[in-house]
């Protein structure tokens, strides 16, 4: 029996009568990397927030190195040796690497409390080199790439002598090389007796770096597994509570012959180059390319959000000009933007408001909103999309990422659009929610909606699209049949091989 670094027992937590965590237990042994898995909304974030002192649990016990502790707030968590790295970075761009690492606990002189700058740089350099990282501690963080920033973040979390480190989706936005470096650092940390809790939707990463995995489902324990004795299917099944038939549901319908959207040499002030294509009723057309290839700009242009400067755009055979998103909506176009927090949601407002906002006309009679009709629309849409928890009066900011994404989709779904544009619709959400979104896209296409998906997930594109356009530096460089394409082929085309 190895020593236990951290033990959680019987943790309960509810928000406004809804159980987020119900009798959850978790155990982190000395010297292990333990994955915490579950769908969006399964309770992972809540558990992490209890551990880091952001939320208070309703009942339960936390033991650190065998001693029962209470964690008052985030500062207290750090004192107890619990460090955390979140998806969103907490670094200050205008400070140096060294200053960031010691932010909040800088070495100071005993007399006047002034900063000991040399000491700061020396200690930061020491830390960095102990992990074999070649970053100059006097560089400004703003000058670093995302992967390097993430590494600085880890060093920062460790600088408080953390022996329990929480990593929440640490590889988001990192390149393959940077991910490899991260994993090397994690191996190194293990030797240095730092115990880690690893949260990720990427199960391949879990198989690569973790020793054990604990799965949460609907706020309860759904099992703990030894990674070398378990397979992907078992893990997924335990996360979903059912066997996932297929990650990508089979498409039954076929596109019709009728063109619903056509652009010719179309360009906005933000697009890099003019683009031409046509979209048929009931077709799922993918546009793929690497980050920065100009996909989002095209989407915003088609939705009338940027100013068109060139070319023709016709909807159902009629040429027109879309001067605003409002215009685009009137012509049956809906758009699900890439960044749900910045572009898609009213985070402080409730689910009902967020779902009804774009199609409020449906709930209006003689100029007056019927609150009954409004909540009916919100409820029906939430049920159709399986938004959890099913509480339309809940502020959207309290939902998990996947459920937030469903709300953004719900906003347009209730208006039954003719053309639906989705920009990175599955970014940062789990397998279960992804599959649900793919099924929904299939369903919409089968009922005649023209679907345009912009995504840089090549695997997803080749699996779900009828037809794929590859875009590079704003120009369409290839057109493929979805079923004939492969991930490698798309990647090569997108990179310009």
């Amino acid at each position: 029996m190895p020593d236990i670094a951290l033990k959680l027992e019987g943790i309960y937590k509810s928000f406004g009568g809804i159980h987020a965590l119900k009798d959850v237990s978790f155990e982190l042994s000395e010297g292990e990397v333990h994955a915490l898995l579950g769908e969006n909304g399964a309770g992972k974030s809540t558990l992490i927030k209890i551990l880091t002192g952001v939320h208070k649990m309703d009942s339960g016990t936390i033991q650190v190195q065998g001693k029962t502790v209470t964690i008052e707030d985030p500062v207290d968590a750090r004192h107890k040796g619990i460090g955390a790295i979140y998806q969103e970075l907490s670094l200050v761009d205008s400070l140096t690497v060294a200053e960031n690492i010691f932010l909040g606990h800088e070495p100071i002189t005993s007399f006047f409390g002034t900063l000991r700058k040399k000491e700061l740089i020396r200690r930061a350099a020491e830390y960095l080199s102990s992990f074999g990282i070649e970053i100059d501690p006097s560089t400004f963080v703003g000058d670093l790439g995302l992967g390097q920033k993430r590494i600085v973040e880890i060093i920062k979390a460790l600088s408080i002598n953390a022996n329990i480190l929480l990593l929440d989706e640490p590889t988001t936005g990192m390149s393959r090389v940077e991910i490899d470096t991260l994993f090397e650092i994690m191996d190194d940390l293990k030797l240095k007796k730092v115990n880690m809790i690893y949260i990720s939707h990427h199960l391949d990463e879990v198989f690569r770096v973790c020793d054990r995995a604990t799965v949460l489902r609907d706020g309860q324990n759904a099992g703990t597994f030894e990674i070398d004795k378990v397979d992907l299917k078992t893990l997924v099944k335990s996360m979903l509570g059912r066997t996932l038939k297929e990650e990508f549901p089979v498409r039954e319908g076929r596109p019709s012959e009728e063109t619903i959207l056509e652009i010719e040499e179309f360009k906005t002030d933000k697009m890099l180059a003019p683009v031409s294509f046509s979209l048929k009723k009931g077709e799922i057309l993918g546009i793929t390319g690497i980050i920065g290839s100009g996909k989002s700009e095209l989407a915003l242009g088609l939705f009338g959000a940027d100013r068109a400067v060139k070319g023709k755009l016709s909807i159902a055979g009629k040429e027109m000009r879309l001067n605003s998103p409002d215009d685009a909506k009137r012509h049956g176009i809906s758009f699900i933007p890439e960044d749900r927090k910045e572009q898609g949601l009213f985070l402080r407002l409730n689910v009902e408001h967020n779902i009804c906002v774009a199609n409020i006309d449906l709930a209006i009679k003689n100029g007056i909103i019927s609150s009954k009709k409004k909540s009916e629309i919100a409820k029906e849409t939430s049920e159709k999309l399986k938004i959890r928890p099913l509480d339309i009066k809940m502020a959207v900011q309290n939902l998990s990422g996947g459920n937030q994404q469903k709300v953004v989709i719900g906003k347009w779904l209730c208006g039954e659009p003719d053309i639906l544009i989705l920009d990175e619709p599955t970014r940062g959400i789990d397998i279960g929610a992804k599959t649900e979104i793919y099924s929904l896209i299939n369903y919409l296409a089968d009922s005649g909606t023209g679907i345009l998906i912009l995504s840089s997930e090549f695997r997803e594109m080749s699996a779900i699209c009828d037809r794929i356009l590859v875009i590079r530096k704003g120009t369409v460089v290839a057109e493929l049949e979805g079923k004939d394409s492969s991930t490698e082929q798309l990647l090569t085309l997108a990179l310009g091989g």
């Binding site: 406004g16 009568g17 939705f303 959000a305 605003s324 998103p325 409002d326 685009a328 909506k329 758009f335 933007p337 910045e342 572009q343 898609g344 949601l345 009213f346 985070l347 402080r348 407002l349 408001h353 009804c356 906002v357 774009a358 409020i360 006309d361 209006i364 100029g367 007056i368 909103i369 609150s371 009066k393 906003k411």
Partner: protein, 321 residues
Amino acid sequence: MENETEKNDRSAFVSKFLRLLKGELGLILILVALMVVFSLMSPYFFTSRNLLNITRQVSITLIVAIGMTFVILTGEIDLSVGSSAALVGVATAAVLNATGSIFLGLIAGLILGVGIGLANGVLTVYGRVQSFIVTLAMMGIARGAALVWTGGKPISRLPVDFAIMGAGYLGPVPVSTIIAAGVFILAFFVLNRTKHGVYVKSIGANREAARLSAIPVRKYRVLAFVISGLMSALGGILITSKLLSAQPTAAEGLEMNVIAAVILGGASLSGGVGTVLGTLLGAMVIGVIDNGMNLVGVSSFFQQIVKGVIILVAVLAKRSD
């Protein structure tokens, strides 16, 4: 099963009620506390005559504050309301005296108010200048225009009939209270039961998401300033009517009282949060403080300090829960 849904409905209702209380309960408590204190300190305070008098005194602040609520909900500010009210008062009186028609005077005043609001809105939204700057400039321009127009002297000798709006009574109830109540009900309806309300709240909560939700954002942002301009015009007309004289220096500092009422009412200067019910309560709190301290005989210099402290305490108390 039936029982279950009924229970759910009831608990949903209770939680909705609690939410409402949490938002406005603090203000109601402050209001009650102030009224108890002033009643104990002055025998004249808790009389129907004085209470109605408070509603009359509050009516102008409230009307302008309702316009301001629309602006603050969209995440902007309108500093020009006091000056606009003064300029509109002057214009109304001038047209009234020139034509002899109260109706024409009112129309001219209201159109001027809409014009000032439109200018504020267009410059902020299409000119892409911060509303703080635009309306600060407008504050100077409108006040200056009122002073230049009148040479600094009030326009008086207005027809006595014109005093009905600001100083008249319908039975025991001041006419200006009735006008304010009408404006309140209309604004409450617009914000809670029409598309306009949904759009305004959305724009304040996240402008980019509002735009990408196909809301004509610019139109509704401009409209908020227009409503504020219209409400300041109505306020200016009532002030002129009450005094039966248009003072170019009228309503000085009105913007501060109005913004205080809206913020006290729970609105956030960053937009998206706020209700007209809150604004009503905020304006009432300020009105009761003013009236009560006058009755008790607190010096007007000292009054300002007390008012400032109460506003700070109230806002801090709301933050902590």
